[in-house]
């Protein structure tokens, strides 16, 4: 009887493997947490999109919960994301934009065309802040708490459903 049970070991191992592989099939291979979660927002010294002479740094993100959105005129999904960002701004979320690897002219034109939900847009032409944030494709969004610590990372575009089901609850969670 004992020997019979031993014969089951390969079958059990096989079933365990099947379960793991099956789970792997339904997982998004590109989804992974940011390395910066629970870390301070990286320091920066960048001019704003509207005014090249006005420099801003990390203190911009202290004092209240802010959603930092990395966008660019060259990025098609950023255009699809703008209505959701405008809605978030309407509902009282403070938004700061990072115009990533863009030209000032194109960035300004983009905001004119699609609306401007951002309190401030930082201008990051060579992608230095994006690099420190670990951004590998726009749009990406980072929720920063009142102490300037990154609390939530959204890769890719914020869908209309995400506004209600993900972003607003996260904002509320860190506002307390």
């Amino acid at each position: 009887m004992k020997r019979r049970l031993l014969l089951l070991i390969p079958l059990v191992l096989f079933v365990v493997l099947v379960v793991f592989f099956y789970r792997g099939l339904s997982k998004d291979p590109a989804a992974r947490d940011s390395a910066l979660l629970a870390k301070d927002f990286p320091s920066f010294h960048l001019s704003t999109l509207s005014d090249p002479s006005q420099k801003r740094d990390r203190s911009l993100l202290e004092g209240q919960v802010t959603l930092v959105n990395v966008w660019g005129e060259w990025c098609p999904t950023c255009k699809q994301e703008m209505p959701q960002l405008l809605e978030l701004a309407d509902r009282g979320v403070r938004l700061v934009g990072v115009d990533y690897k863009d030209t000032r002219e194109n960035g300004r034109q983009f905001l004119q065309e699609f609306g401007n939900p951002f309190e401030v847009s930082l201008f990051d032409p060579d992608g230095s802040l994006g690099f420190d944030l670990g951004v590998y494709g726009a749009p990406e969004s980072f929720l920063v708490d009142a102490d300037g610590v990154i609390r939530y990372h959204h890769t890719g575009y914020i869908t209309p459903q995400d506004v209600e089901s993900v972003i607003l609850p996260e904002v509320k969670k860190w506002q307390q």
Partner: protein, 197 residues
């Protein structure tokens, strides 16, 4: 006449040599172009080889499975540029790796770090080899012991009586009492004790 012919032959040969030379040069150049998309000029060959090594060990975060050396995506270009800058600033390979991991996560390392979180990942292959090896060793030892065991008295008696019966049957049937026939019969019988368990 002969001199003219020799001259033209040597010209053909030298032309052949030149074209082979050009071919080799172009092959070499294409190899260096495909290895790095933009040329990083290092004065120090040691830095250049560390650059090549690091950029093939770091994984492009945008891609599923491409090193930053092989990938054409903009983020890989940024990362290569940063690796080159940090190398020139004199940072160690470890420091450069951790600078990338702190921004893009463990994903960018093809070889994950060995730490408590990853001991299962690193240890499992060795554990499986050990388990498999000991199972096979167990089988082999058991087989060998069975094969080496000689017949006990009961088995020997049984064998003798079976051989005798076989001989009797053979002599009844005809002339099959040759040594070969007896041996074949004994061989068949000898296989039996092994199979019992």
């Amino acid at each position: 006449m002969a001199a003219v012919m020799r001259g033209s032959a040597s010209r053909v040969w030298s032309r052949f040599g030149v074209s082979i030379g050009l071919l080799l040069v172009s092959l070499l150049m294409s190899a260096s172009v495909s290895a790095a998309i933009e040329v990083q000029d290092f004065q120090d060959p040691a830095l250049a080889s560390r650059y090549a090594d690091l950029s093939s060990r770091l994984r492009c975060p945008k891609c599923q499975n491409e090193s930053i050396a092989a990938s054409n995506s903009p983020i890989s270009a940024d990362m290569r540029a940063r690796v080159a800058t940090l190398l020139r600033e004199g940072e160690s390979d470890k420091q450069i790796e951790s600078a990338m991991v702190s921004r893009f996560g463990d994903y960018v390392l093809y070889d994950p770090k060995l730490e408590t979180r990853t001991w299962l990942l690193w240890g499992l292959p060795f554990a499986l080899v050990l388990i498999g090896g000991s199972v096979i060793a167990g089988f082999v030892i058991k087989r060998r012991r069975l094969a080496q065991r000689s017949l006990d008295d009961d088995e020997r008696d049984r064998l003798a009586s079976l051989v005798a019966r076989h001989r009797a049957a053979g002599s009844e049937a005809g002339e099959d009492t040759t040594a070969a026939g007896a041996e074949a019969g004994a061989g068949k019988l000898r296989a039996r004790p092994k199979g019992e368990n």
